[in-house]
């Protein structure tokens, strides 16, 4: 449900851009026939109900993925509004305050999202209730109507003519209406019926029900409702000619009633902007062919501009990215530490992190190889796998950076025994020999270290790479063990490490639980 909501949210943002564009455009095309205005709204409708689209470079939409789906799952939640300025203003705030922390068991973004979805659903319920109530109110009045022709009904208790009904729409006339206006009213309503306006309006309201949170959708709905009436008037005059204008306008004027802000069901005759409509009717002229052609071209152009999606952000961003690790080889030599008797490496059901495979998308076509999932502490590499690993690691060209790569996961609130730190190194023999030692990490020094960790430190200090493939004694990791450190304290350390220049990521992993 959250994913659905995000998808719909992004769609409505895209549609919002079209609405703005249409509002601007309408000022320019004021002189054109009104059916064009109605047709423009179709673009909005498409955006609101079609979840996918072609990508094109002509797209003007800033972003179709404003709130990415991954925002829940990632460590660094960000939005992609399509505007650098907005992104760089908003994202640091989000990342700082709402990023999931290793020590909390719930992701704040997930909480916010759940609440938002609940509110959204409530809103939908409210809209539906309003629709049902409105319909019922009208229904009770019109069932006392009497037939008055093929598809016309006369009713005492209504005050404006309208069309209602989905399957067999009927025209409802107030019995108090002057007989002389009847033909004009019926002409108008029949155009509505022929064009199936009652269906389009219902569909528009359906959109409003789902997208009620987007004010631009409300604007679109209200203006669309008005546009339908204008276009209907024009069609009537077009059909019956200039001589019709005076009588028709009179009928309209005399049937006008107080305007309700948002009505959903009936296409009422005298409800919408009567004054403007009369003005429009009086100055209506049959449009030349030229205008029609230009209008169609315009609509198609707008379709291309607004119904296509912008090209992938990644493709455009790739060119910008530098200083990224182009390759990460991480692996864990899964082995219980021989010198730590009380530690049993239990298999901790931590989540499988997707960070190793995170988009360090490379400009080069090198593949990123993540071997074992470091979470499964009990997984032991076979000899063949290990050999492959080493070979690969030695044969890959130098990395741009020599960053230390720490592996983080979420913990339980208990204290924990060990942090395993994964190294990402240049895959050459020379740089392999440079090892990080504890001295390189003043943040960690003096914090709850267990002696037993030093044994592994020495191994690394010696920089020995085993000639054979005996992984049991060889540790490629900087294994620092904290015992009984409170998770808050550890969190602080991790934050400090993360701030370091040479640290790309910090990923502690639980190898056991403290008592």
């Amino acid at each position: 449900m959250e994913a659905l909501f995000l998808k719909l949210f992004n769609m409505s943002v895209s549609a919002g851009w079209i609405v703005l564009a249409i509002l601007l455009l309408r000022l320019i095309i004021r002189k054109s026939p009104k059916w064009i205005n109605v047709a423009l709204w179709i673009l909005v409708a498409v955006r609101l109900c079609v979840p996918f689209s072609l990508k094109s470079i002509l797209s003007i939409i800033p972003s179709t993925n404003t709130i990415p789906q991954e925002i829940i799952a990632t460590e660094r939640p960000v939005i992609e509004s399509g505007f650098e300025a907005v992104d760089s203003a908003v994202n640091p705030i989000i990342t700082e305050n709402l990023a999931p922390s290793v020590t909390e068991s719930v992701n704040p973004i997930a909480i916010i999202l759940s609440v938002t979805v609940a509110v959204w659903l409530i809103g939908i319920a409210v809209m539906l209730t309003y629709m049902v109530i409105s319909y019922l109110r009208i229904y009770f009045r019109i069932r006392e109507g009497v037939p008055d022709g093929d598809n016309t009904m006369l009713c005492d208790r209504i005050n404006t003519p309208f069309v209602m009904g989905i399957v067999r729409p009927k025209i409802y006339l107030p019995s108090s209406m002057d007989e002389s206006y009847k033909p004009y009213v019926i002409a108008h309503e029949n155009v509505h019926i022929k064009r199936r306006d009652y269906l389009w309006k219902l569909l528009a309201f359906a959109f409003l029900t789902v997208y009620w949170f987007n004010p631009l959708v409300w604007v679109a709905y209200i203006i669309f409702s008005r546009d339908i009436e204008f276009a209907c008037d024009e069609k009537v005059i077009k059909k019956y000619g200039e001589e019709y204008k005076a009588a028709y306008s009179t009928a309209l004027l005399n049937c006008s009633i107080k305007k309700k802000s948002v009505n959903i069901n009936p296409l009422a005759f005298g409800e919408v902007s009567v004054k403007s409509r009369i003005k429009n009717i009086l100055k209506y002229k049959k449009p030349s062919l030229w205008i029609s052609v230009i209008s169609v071209v315009l609509i198609i152009a707008l379709g291309v501009f607004f119904l296509t999606d912008p090209l992938d952000k990644e493709i455009t961003d790739k060119a910008k990215k530098e200083d990224k690790i182009t390759e990460t080889v991480t692996y864990e030599i899964v082995e219980d530490t021989t010198s730590e008797p009380e530690e049993t490496v239990t298999s901790i059901p931590t989540e499988n992190t997707s960070q190793e495979t995170e988009p360090q998308n490379t400009e080069t076509s090198k593949q990123q190889e993540t071997v074992s999932t470091p979470t499964q502490s009990n997984k032991v590499l076979t000899a063949a796998e290990q050999k492959k690993l080493i070979e690969h690691w030695l044969n890959t060209p130098a990395l741009e950076d020599n960053k230390v790569y720490f592996n983080t996961k979420n913990f339980s609130e208990q204290g924990y025994n060990a942090i395993v730190i994964y190294l990402t190194r240049k895959a050459t023999k020379e740089t392999y020999d440079k090892v990080y030692t504890l001295e390189d990490f003043p943040e960690i020094q003096g914090k709850f270290l267990m002696d037993s960790s030093l044994s592994t430190m020495e191994l690394i200090k010696e920089g020995k790479m085993p000639s054979d493939l005996d992984f049991k004694t060889f540790r490629r990791t900087l294994n620092i063990e904290f015992k009984y450190v409170h998770h808050e304290e550890l969190n602080k350390i991790i934050r400090q490490l993360e701030k370091r220049e040479d640290i790309y990521k910090v990923e502690p992993e639980v190898l056991g639980y403290a008592e």
Partner: protein, 118 residues
């Protein structure tokens, strides 16, 4: 009590009742369905409304009028003359006759009426 105006549809229904009264409500329903295309529930709803206004009554499933049609419309016309002509019947007649001439029969009828009043 009779402070109401019939709409066109309601007056058609009322006329039916006045014509057929007293009439069993079930029969009325059938007639209404035929003449007005009304559902049973609609007929009962409107009937109830008219009963509440004191024009008809529905006792033991029989509908009968509390006031006759003439009485009703005379009350209406009283109201109308009151509203439009300050209650002055001559004024009303004068206005009426400017648009429609009275024929000889009507004239004679009026004369007799005046005689009775004198």
């Amino acid at each position: 009590m009779n402070d109401i105006n019939f709409g066109t549809v309601e007056s058609r229904f009322a006329d039916i009742i006045w014509q057929m009264a007293p009439v069993a409500s079930s029969k009325l329903v059938k007639i209404a369905e035929k003449e007005l295309n009304w559902k049973k529930s609609t007929t009962y709803t409107v009937l109830k409304r008219l009963c509440e206004k004191g024009i008809f009554t529905n006792e033991n499933a029989v509908v009968s009028p509390l006031i006759t049609r003439e009485e009703f419309y005379s009350m209406q016309s009283e109201k109308f003359v009151e509203q439009a002509f300050d209650g002055s019947l001559p004024a009303f007649l004068a206005a009426f006759t400017t648009r429609k001439e009275l024929n000889s029969e009507e004239l004679e009828f009026l004369n007799e009426l005046i005689e009775k009043y004198k």
